[in-house]
Symmetry: C2
Subunit: 336 residues, 2 copies
Amino acid sequence: MDRAPTIKDVAELAKVHAATASRALNPATRSMVTARTANRVLEAARTLGYAPNSAARSLRTRTSLVAGVIIPDLRNPMFPPIVRGIEDGLRAGGYMALLGNTDGDPARERELLDAMRGRQTDGFILATSRRDSVAMEEGGRPVPTVLVNRRTDAADVPSVTADNAVGIHALVRLLVAAGHTRIAHLAGPQDLSTGWERRRAFGDAMSEHGLSAERIVTCAGFTTEAGLEGTLTLLDTTPGTTAIVAGNDLIALGCYEALVDRGVRCPEDISVTGFNDIPFPGRQQPALTTVRIPHYEIGLEAARLLLERIGNPEAPAKRVVLPVEVVERDSIAPAH
Amino acid sequence: MDRAPTIKDVAELAKVHAATASRALNPATRSMVTARTANRVLEAARTLGYAPNSAARSLRTRTSLVAGVIIPDLRNPMFPPIVRGIEDGLRAGGYMALLGNTDGDPARERELLDAMRGRQTDGFILATSRRDSVAMEEGGRPVPTVLVNRRTDAADVPSVTADNAVGIHALVRLLVAAGHTRIAHLAGPQDLSTGWERRRAFGDAMSEHGLSAERIVTCAGFTTEAGLEGTLTLLDTTPGTTAIVAGNDLIALGCYEALVDRGVRCPEDISVTGFNDIPFPGRQQPALTTVRIPHYEIGLEAARLLLERIGNPEAPAKRVVLPVEVVERDSIAPAH
DNA sequence: TTGTAAGCGTTATCAA
DNA sequence: TTGATAACGCTTACAA
């Protein structure tokens, strides 16, 4: 045998027709066949080491058992555990993941999406959506899609996100308990749900404590550089700030740098908090108080949702929100 | 149009036969067609938003433009940059990556390999090979495969690895320059090329400096736990050790823990070095002197090699070794 | 240069 | 319950 065995080879060995072999091989149709022939076919398949040709199957059934997973950059420590969760979740349904990075470039995202659809991908898990992104469709039918970590304003696409509001409320509570009142927020980009929800939650949390949320600077991105810039602006425009709630851990890191530049001590002069609890390259000084989000579980749940969605594309879109947990470290000190 | 456009739709719109459309669409065969018709077809394809059905193409051509990438665990910080490099390298050849994690389980690896082969994967990039792993074949023909980071003893499979020998030599030179002579090695598993090559290089480097490499303990794995265990054994069996060359960064981290347990100070009492320069979760104390390997480039080069291999499976197997760089931090002190 | 036709391996429909 | 047959969309001899 110098080529992979086909279902015809199996059928021949089992002395049945290819169609019968197909029925015997597929668990869903196995009941259409007598147990005896089913066994003969299975046995033949085993001895030949038969594996179905998925290209042929895809062509015929119009499904591929492959899902596209699109993220900004795998090197962002947010994503490896999420992607791992996705992979494990997909595996449970016999699916595999086709992975693509966009570096945040919408054009690149389009390309990837097109290329993956051309490859008969059955659905997508996207970590790249913006608040105004719209649901994909193909010939009037929605393409099964699940958003992960970020979501759109429109509620028509299923999503799995962390509980941003609860996380921010907990951080603000911690700061208030430490005596802070002049608390600022380094917001993330407002076209991303994460940036927007956290900013909104910050406003809500402040008013709950009878404080006004006026010390807000919006950063250009969820990056260290943007965090540095944002902090400098913040220090220049809102004197008296004693605590900063950063939009995420990277912004908090940039904040650390800016504080050092300006000779401001953390946490003695200004307390700082992050969000996400990503593993840091190298040392953080001081260790950052932040909100841990369940990265792996977010991915796992997203995969489950996608499998559901593929099974029933018309079902209402679930929006799953997973609980978070505050991790107290050394970046908060009592207000002076 | 309630279904994706096929090449027939394109042909119809361009008023040519499907075969002609196919020739016009494929850059390799475009010269068989007049420029005028080629343009008409391309134009028609664009207006319809045509994307070729890859299942049909795969079925016909027996290639899928998909490569399988198999790693132990994406959450190991070694792998994200490697995988990202792979993806970028594959993209250059129009390929995409199907990703799978094995958690180091050979059975799981077999499953993945089979599942991916069933999906017509054109080749594999494996980060999971052991020294005694054998080249895969299918019907007598080798399955195009490239090994990353680890390789087999047999030289018949292409691989891309970091220069383990140079890295270890540089570390030993650093320690010797700091006055150390009683230098120990916490070796990684000897069935992995990384563990074996580093151990061998340690022996060579020591003799080059006229020192004997007798203080060696082999750890059960490249993990923090194994590093802790190994260090305890080392301290118990080889008194007088003033420096430890750990098999990788995780082993070094375990070493740190063991030293703290035993009340030994690092680097004052014992100097420690790592390998890989992975981004650490949280803080390391003291910052680890280690060898940085070019993760991204390793992945990129592996992808290039795979594309070459797919193009010409019979060509001799290249074994690419990429240069490394020592990163001096705070975990080495002068010998007392 | 273009059209015709066959076939890749599977599964769904229809008939026996 | 099983077999025959057609079709999925594409590429490639071969013929025109």
